[in-house]
Amino acid sequence: MSNSDAINGSGNGRVRTMDIVNKGLAKRYKRERRFRMMGLSAIILSLAFLSLLFISIIANGYTAFEQTMIQLDVHLDAQEIDKENLAAANYLGLIRTSLKKTFPDVKKRRDKRKMYNLVSPGASFMLQDFVMRNRHEIGNTITIWVPADDDVDMLMKGNIKRDVPESERRMNDMQLSWVDKLIASGQIKKVFNTTFFTAGDSREPELAGIWGAACGSFYTLIVTLLLSFPIGVAAAVYLEEFAPTNRWTDLIEVNINNLAAVPSIVFGLLGLAVFLNFFELPRSAPLVGGLVLTLMTLPTIIIASRAALKSVPPSIREAALGVGASKTQMVTHHVLPLALPGMLTGTIIGMAQALGETAPLLMIGMVAFIVDIPGGFTDPSTVLPVQIFLWADSPERAFLERTSAAIMILLAFLVTMNAVAVLLRKKFERRW
């Protein structure tokens, strides 16, 4: 009692306490404001950088979603095309004949070659495709839009400047005049670039697409998800709920934490040594890529899942055990459902990492130049980030915009994945 008197005093002592509180109040609020300002500015700063990044990528890349096309009138000479063997016909010759008709004044051999290069080398394949689908047109003259060469495309998009001296331009004045003539006659236009979304890689920018890499990424991630999520969750559940604490489990825990910090290229080397050299799995395959990325993402998933399991209050476990649930029932009926949102978050972080990973995939040959769209887990393929890396490395100006476009696709992939994760989390999360 004498003690409390000394602290509070009596009557006016209470007033004094209030005075002390009030005196410190201004300082406390100031500190609080400062803290809030710091947080706010950090968020604004990061948002600014993020938008800067997005703006620069979109500004660089949006043109890739358009492609310049050239209209050609091609006479499908019945004598040139063998109806029994459509593939053997000289479609390139037909295209060239058509171009010659469009520009009849070009006589010199060198100029002719330049003229032929107005359209993409892919034009003859397009024509062949058209003929195969429309046999009845053989003998007629048809109108077909074929992709323009990437230089023409760049010119149309303003990336080749007309005002620089001819010697420093990729296209000379004569080529410009041909393009002008096409523009005047309405035989050239920019259309939505479907090729970019449907084709695999190509040496020709106008024929290159992201679909091959997207498929590769998809197959790789499927393998990664199917392996790493169940294994990771099972490992976490075992370590957290069932394993005894002893030197072995300590050792395992330390090693898992260490693995999370191992540079990803090391996993690539491991994959090369184990999966390719020892198990002789196919090179450049999404299967192997998925295995390597599984090794890489497992520690992330295990650590996140264990944290999620740890955060389930012990009283829930006691409640379940108290009514006579077995340990497994306790885990599957009560602990796992509560931990699942956290586990999903960890998995998504791991998958996002895996989606953006390049280094370990280089080691197992997924960096190869692959034109075909992969149709399965063992087909050679590449993945989105590697495709971006390959295009960023290419000298053609047209690949520059495609690099940015591919980055946009990668980001879209990521955003979709995150959105799915958020939805799943919402679905599983119990807010009570």
Binding site: P313, I316, E318, A319, L321, G322, V323
Partner: protein, 304 residues
């Protein structure tokens, strides 16, 4: 020496207690008409054994943190059939710890070790071949902190019976849920919102939900750790009636901080003090004529 103690007057005994110092010759002394065992004595006084016990504990020691901390010290105690035994004692004296030994709930605490023998119907429940799942179905527990599942009220009650296969279909489950909630005195408050989360109930409602959940499994022995700590007098009365009703068939061990409750519901009372079982005996005797000085201090509110 004993003669000197006997000659002491009641006033002198009071004065001694305030001084809180005792000489060995005061081990047994007279306070008023009664002889009280001195505070320093830690051996259990009173009759701990009963005939044909339901559960029987012998020389139980409990350690926490891998033996670092001893929470229970050499406790021997029988729990009879169809009796309500109350456990009282100051906070931190080991009541919950002891109660949790009886259905091996302490197994879940890492580093908790139980020594000695605890048997149920003559079978040591700490034997290697004992399966804790049926044990816990048989020995139900209401925890000190209400811990409803983060599921609906209905699911909270139905979970136990479902996993044990006590109910076959929806109708049976509905009936059991309703019945359990009614017995715990919660039905009227929740009957319109059985699909709502059990964790959204008030503290007292959660406590009754947990009681309903425990009795839904129909255990033979029920361990209740302060089941009424958050309840108003009306709800408390409902629970006490429930205990009265349950004891016809079952055995109940209840921890309580309310002396009145202990005297109302229990036949025998055990007084714990810092890990020791100080006194055990018929409830009337404990509250009217305690044998141990510590018990007397506690029930008269003189405990410091």
């Amino acid at each position: 020496m004993q003669m000197t103690a006997a000659e002491q007057t009641a006033e002198q005994a009071e004065a001694d207690m305030k001084q809180e110092e005792a000489t060995p010759e005061e081990t047994v002394k007279k306070s008023g008409k009664r002889k009280l065992v001195a505070r320093e004595e830690r051996a259990t006084v009173g009759e701990m054994a009963v005939e044909n016990p339901r559960m029987s504990c012998r020389n139980v020691d409990v350690y926490y943190n891998f033996g670092e901390k001893k929470a229970i010290n050499n406790i021997s105690l029988d729990i009879g059939r169809n009796e309500v035994i109350a456990m009282i004692g100051p906070s931190g004296c080991g009541k919950s710890t002891f109660l949790r030994c009886l259905n091996r709930m302490n197994d879940t605490i890492e580093g908790c070790q139980v020594k000695g023998e605890i048997s149920m119907d003559g079978k040591n429940i700490y034997d290697k071949d004992v399966d804790v799942v049926p044990l816990r179905a048989q020995v139900g527990m209401v925890f000190q902190k209400p811990n409803p599942f983060p599921k609906s009220i209905y699911e909270n009650i139905a979970y136990g019976p479902k996993i044990h296969g006590l109910v076959q279909n929806r109708d049976e489950t509905d009936e059991l849920v309703e019945n359990s909630l009614k017995r715990a005195g919660l039905w009227n408050e929740v009957k319109d919102r059985l699909d709502q989360p059990g964790t959204g109930l008030s503290g007292g409602q959660q406590q009754r939900l947990c009681i309903a959940r425990t009795i839904a499994v129909n255990p033979e022995i029920i361990l209740m750790d302060e089941p009424c700590s958050a309840l108003d007098p009306i709800a408390t009365a409902i629970i006490e009636d429930l205990i009265d009703e349950l004891k016809q068939e079952y055995t109940i061990a209840i921890v309580t901080h309310s002396m009145q409750q202990a005297s109302r519901v229990s036949q025998r009372t055990a007084y714990f003090h810092l890990g020791d079982l100080i006194e055990i005996g018929p409830t009337d005797q404990i509250f009217l004529n305690p044998l141990h000085q510590l018990t007397e201090d506690y029930i008269t509110g003189r405990f410091g």
